[in-house]
């Protein structure tokens, strides 16, 4: 597979202070009433309900799939989540549990979360996950290669994984908390987009900081510019550390005011989260009834 010329990986510089200022400014948007309800429902429809623990079991995954299908069975107007995200060995369980629901099955792969294994193993893991029925693959990039300046290796690997995915959608996890500098993040976005990634995703959730507003704003700017230059849309997934409905709405404001209407859909923006859903449900019920419900009114799984 021919790699790209290194100049292809050049990106415009990013000014950290100004980027953070803009993100903070957008975070002051005030969302009330109908706009809030619409945003909260959209957040649920964009959610990749995630469990990525050593202790994950078939029972746990089945519980989570039930919640993703019908997050709040008492209300018909609450949509299903976008996907359930699990480790590869539990994909088959999730596929069974979600059959006919329209909820996608996403699997992490490529030696998640560190990615420190050889490429053959990574590709084999992807193939097995896809064979088991995963329709979305969340890969991690080789941060070691990236930070050593071997951008071509990072690019080649993403290309190879994309090929192994077949029809499955590929989300490329940049692990922004390890890349740290905004310039690095912008460059990693470019590599992932050029290599055919369908989504760029912030984090594994295993590294702190995970998703932040400035990082996601930067990634949205990258996919926006890629679209304007090539006509190809790439999605963004904010994952890790998003726990409150208020935070979710701030991310949606970034999407709305950076990429616009086309990205306001589960097809092009996702939240990767485990505890966010219940807070969103609680806020939705508060908007409907005017009162806060007890946390125990919402199931844990």
């Amino acid at each position: 597979m021919p790699s790209l010329h290194p100049t292809e990986f050049r990106v415009p510089p990013v000014d950290a202070v100004a980027l953070e200022t803009r993100a903070a400014q957008l975070a002051t948007r005030s969302l009330k009433k109908a706009a809030k309800v619409q945003g909260l429902k959209l957040a649920i429809a964009m959610m990749d309900l995630t469990t990525l623990e050593g202790a994950d079991s078939p029972g746990k995954v089945q519980q989570l799939c039930g919640k993703a299908r019908r997050p709040f069975p008492a209300r018909d107007d609450v949509p299903s989540c976008a996907a359930v995200c699990v480790y590869p060995d539990l994909v088959a369980i999730a596929v069974d549990a979600l059959a006919g629901s329209g909820v996608q099955v996403a699997s992490v792969a490529t030696g998640f979360p560190a990615g420190r294994t050889d490429r053959q193993t990574k590709l084999r893991e992807v193939e097995l996950a896809v064979a088991a029925g995963a329709t979305e693959i969340d890969m991690v990039i080789d941060r070691g290669a990236f930070l050593a300046g071997r951008y071509g290796d990072v690019y080649d690997e993403i290309c190879a994984v994309k090929e192994a995915c077949g029809d499955a959608h590929l989300k490329v996890i940049l692990e922004t908390g390890e890349l740290q500098a905004y310039d690095n993040i912008r460059r990693a976005c470019r590599i992932a987009m050029l290599a055919g990634g369908d989504f760029v995703k912030t984090s594994t959730g295993k590294v702190s900081p995970a998703s932040t507003l400035p990082v996601v704003l930067l990634m949205l700017e990258a996919v926006r510019d890629h679209f304007l230059a090539t006509g190809r849309m790439v999605g963004v997934k904010a994952a890790g550390g998003i726990r409150t409905a208020k935070d979710a709405l701030k991310y949606l404001v970034l999407v709305n005011e950076t990429c616009g209407d086309a990205w306001l859909s589960p097809q092009w923006f996702r939240f990767g989260a485990s505890s966010l859903l219940n807070d969103v449900l609680m806020q939705l019920e508060k908007e409907r009834t005017g009162r806060y419900q007890r946390p125990t009114d919402f199931s844990t799984d």
Partner: protein, 501 residues
């Protein structure tokens, strides 16, 4: 609904905004703000009816509704205010620095406590969005009082070896674009240095300065230390010419500033002027362009462009001109123009009908003289004074929109090829208040900063204010500084012939 943006269409890819998720109105409440049907003059620590017996109306620029009537000070009222300040002077200047600082701290704290009230009133009277009054005007005003409170007992550290003395009675005339903030910029250093003050706010935006008088009373500031007289240009002219003043500070148009300087010549009064501007942004091809776009937007559309240091000229390196203008055009389309009380509004109402007429006149001149106008397609309210965010491209340096201060949301874009050309074009103006440099190269920033003929040089940011940073201009933008140690220098007389700002 959303326009189709899928890539299979033949036309160039384009984004669409605002069709899919509309923000519901989120209006700041106004019920905690009471506006008197008639506001009087604040002289000698109390509100007095004007001896002139005349009043004028102040309107909300977003609705054209009359908010209330305000006293129009005549010559006798000006005289009474100067006399009150003169009577208050001996005790105030004898007070220890610690004690003067204590009053200023108290004023700052009360201002913070009543921040919401001030923010809403400023938005009603001025037309600027509540997000700006809430996050910029009011907090910065409080910071100015805090900052100068800290200096009040340390003046001798600023001027070692000499004993700084207050000028005495200071006359201050401020504009309508930042009514409360300009009052704070003027009053805080004057009081910290031991002067007493007669302040005249602009006739179209007098309400927050009057509310500030309530704060002075609440803080038990001695009577007469600050006097506020409202009125039009005639009242301002009477004030600056009053023989009882020792110093005059003016912020406003270059035209009026020149008049004041002429009137004061030979009078022995000290003078500082903060006047107009025609600041340039210099955007180099290596700049962080997405952030530069935000900075340019902040530079010209902040406060509807009613900013003396607004970045009203954009000089962009020719190699990135098209890319940058495209980014700017898309960004401008997303500026939310409308009800200033809505927390999501980015740009509010133009302050007055005459100002709107002037902006329109200059835009017409821009089109007539051959520049290409780009305007945001935003819907404008039917009532009130409104102007869409506007950008002109292909602007020649000779055109009026490149030379005259528009004081509105209108950006004039030209190009440059080399750093030398950038410097020459940026300095090709009668003004010299501010400029913005956008480049990723540190060495270039320093090289340029030394060559800019402007009092304020912002690097990779714009319209950032801090009480510790001196602000002011050169050439037709005036002289004297506000903020920082340099700002205090403008309010003290140094023995040994060093007086004069």
């Amino acid at each position: 609904m959303a326009k189709k943006t899928a890539p299979e269409t033949d036309s160039a890819p384009e984004l669409s905004f605002g069709g899919k998720w509309l923000y519901a109105p989120s209006r700041e409440a106004t019920d905690h703000v009471r506006i008197a049907a008639r506001s009087e003059l604040f002289v000698g620590g109390e509100f007095h009816k004007p001896k002139s017996r005349s009043y004028f109306a102040t309107v909300n620029p977003a609705t054209e509704e009359v908010l209330g009537e305000v006293a129009a000070a005549g010559a006798k009222d000006v005289d009474a205010a100067v006399q009150a300040a003169t009577r208050a002077l001996p005790a105030w200047r004898r007070l220890s620095g610690e004690d003067r600082g204590r009053y200023l701290f108290r004023i700052a704290r009360i201002l913070q406590e009543r921040a919401r009230e001030f923010a809403v009133l400023e938005t009603l009277d001025n037309g600027k969005p509540i997000a700006e009054t809430r996050d910029v005007d009011v907090p910065l005003a409080a910071q100015h009082f805090f900052y100068h409170a800290g200096w009040a007992d340390k003046l001798e550290l600023l001027f070692p070896g000499v004993r700084p003395e207050p000028y005495g009675v200071v006359g201050q005339v401020i504009p309508w674009n930042f009514p409360l903030l300009m009052a704070a910029w003027k009053i805080a250093p004057a009081l910290a240095a031991g002067n007493t003050v007669v302040l005249k706010p602009a006739e179209t935006s007098p309400l927050t300065a009057l509310l500030l008088c309530e704060v002075f009373a609440q803080a038990e500031l001695p009577a007469g230390v600050v006097n506020v007289i409202t009125g039009d240009g005639a009242a301002g002219a009477a004030l600056v010419r009053h023989p009882g003043l020792h110093k005059v500070a003016f912020t406003g148009s270059t035209e009026v500033g020149k008049e004041i300087q002429r009137a004061l010549a030979g009078s022995g009064k000290a003078l500082t002027l903060e006047l107009g501007g025609k600041a340039a942004h210099l955007v180099f091809e290596d700049a962080a362009l997405d952030q530069a776009v935000e900075g340019v937007v902040r530079g010209i559309f902040f406060n509807q462009g009613h900013v003396c240091c607004a970045g009203s000229r954009l000089l962009v390196q020719e190699s990135v001109h098209d890319l940058f203008v495209d980014k700017l055009r898309r960004r401008m389309a997303r500026i939310r123009v409308g009800d200033p009380l809505d927390k999501n509004t980015d740009m509010g109402a133009i302050h007055s009908a005459p100002q709107l007429a002037r902006i329109r006149e200059l835009c017409a001149a821009g089109e007539r003289e051959g520049a290409v106008m780009h305007q945001s397609a935003c819907a404008l309210p039917a009532k009130g004074y409104w102007h869409a965010p506007t950008m002109f491209t292909g602007v020649a340096m000779s055109q009026r929109i490149a030379r005259e201060e528009i004081f509105g949301p209108v950006l004039a874009v030209s190009t440059f090829r080399t750093p030398d050309e950038a410097v020459a074009k940026a300095n090709d103006t009668a003004y010299g208040l501010s400029c913005g440099i956008w480049t990723d190269k540190g060495a270039r920033i320093l090289w340029l900063a030394g060559r800019m003929r402007a009092g304020v040089v912002w690097n990779n940011t714009f319209n950032r204010f801090d009480p510790a940073a001196p602000f002011g201009g050169m050439r037709e933008s005036g002289f004297g500084r506000e903020g920082g140690a340099q700002g205090l220098r403008a309010y003290v007389r140094l023995p040994g012939g060093l007086a004069g700002a």
